[in-house]
């Protein structure tokens, strides 16, 4: 009788551990099954990343459709190259899709916003996004604003 109680409570303890792990996975870290689906990689060249890092979101119309996987500097062009993984379910991005580095909120994290174009052909694995827009760097904006003011005055 006593041993049965011990076994039962140890069993419940183990089950609680599994439940905690499952809650962590799905409720807390938002892991979902279709997240791990297949992806394809596209690249884009930016003049200035302004704080975009690896693992940043790639979104279209505010919906996350991929992640930035690699950020590096191109020695030849001295511009930043961003590689991003996009979910296979979004395989119908036209070749003239444009990419812009945006900020979530006023001080939030940087992410890449994609806007779809009008071409009939679609982006494929390893293609480049030609039409890009760099991050807005606050210092540059303020500098330009002050410069214009000085010219006016």
């Amino acid at each position: 009788m006593r041993m049965r109680f011990v076994e039962l409570s140890v069993g419940i303890f183990m089950v609680m551990g599994v439940i905690a792990l499952v809650l962590m996975a799905f409720r807390v870290s938002g892991l979902s099954m279709d997240d791990a689906g297949e992806t394809y990689t596209v690249k884009a060249r930016f003049e200035n990343l302004g704080g975009l890092t690896e693992r940043a979101k790639v979104a279209m119309a505010g919906v996350t459709i991929g992640r930035v996987t690699k950020v590096y500097l191109d020695n030849e062009w001295y511009s930043a190259v961003v590689e991003m993984e996009i979910n296979k379910s979004m395989s119908t991005l036209s070749t003239d899709t444009s990419a812009a580095i945006l900020t979530a909120g006023l001080l939030g994290e940087k992410y890449i916003g994609l806007t779809v174009g009008a071409e009939e052909e679609y982006l494929e694995q390893g293609d480049w996004i030609e039409d890009t827009q760099s991050a807005l760097v606050l210092e540059e904006l303020i500098g330009r604003f002050l410069f214009n003011k000085a010219e006016e005055g």
Partner: protein
Amino acid sequence: MLNRLIQFGKQGTSAIESFGRATLLLWHSVMWGGPGSAGFRDLIKQLYSVGVRSLSIIAVAGFFVGMVLGLQGYTTLVDFGSESALGTLVSLTLLRELGPVVTALLFAGRAGSALTAEIGLMKATEQLSAMEMMGVDPLKRVITPRLWAGIMAMPILALIFSTVGIWGGAYVAVELLGIDDGAYWGNMQASVEFYEDVIKGVIKSVVFGIVVTWIAVYQGYDSIPTSEGIGKATTQTVVISSLAVLGLDFVLTAVMFGGV
């Protein structure tokens, strides 16, 4: 002067000696066999006394720690108008740091000291030598199931601690402070990564489980078999394992989270 030097040298060698004995103990009791090698029933019994009986203190502590994190985080975040990030703050703090560390400290106090006292008393009442006389290896029979139970129970306890804490934080945030329910969970899900945060926290707690149980069983096994010796060994367990957990936590954090 010379005497003091001799004393110092003696202390040094005895510290290294006991570290060697502890390593041999770990080697002989764990490397010989898996969790069930000394009989499955023993393991279950130890899991009960180490894991199940620590559950209530872990759950209550986790709930309060989560609630405090919610309150304290709110007072800071509200100044920047970003109180919707409270879920992220509570969950990352718990998963990466407080879950494994506080659980390990409580575990050292609750289960570690009990293990030391139990094994020390077995030694004092000569149960361990009696086992040897009967041809039963006390390492395999007494130490192995306790070590494995500690190593298995610790990550489960830490996960339960974090889970309860996150829900405690959610209670404070949503019910008491009026943060939007969706903002709390949504921001948390956006920033917590399963492998980066949850699994690394589990790895931490496994390491802490090994260290705390190892220190506890060694202190018991190596204690001076008198009532005073057992008392001293129990205190040593709590002190050494708490310090070891905090020190190791820094090393593990630097290795796993520091690079990025």
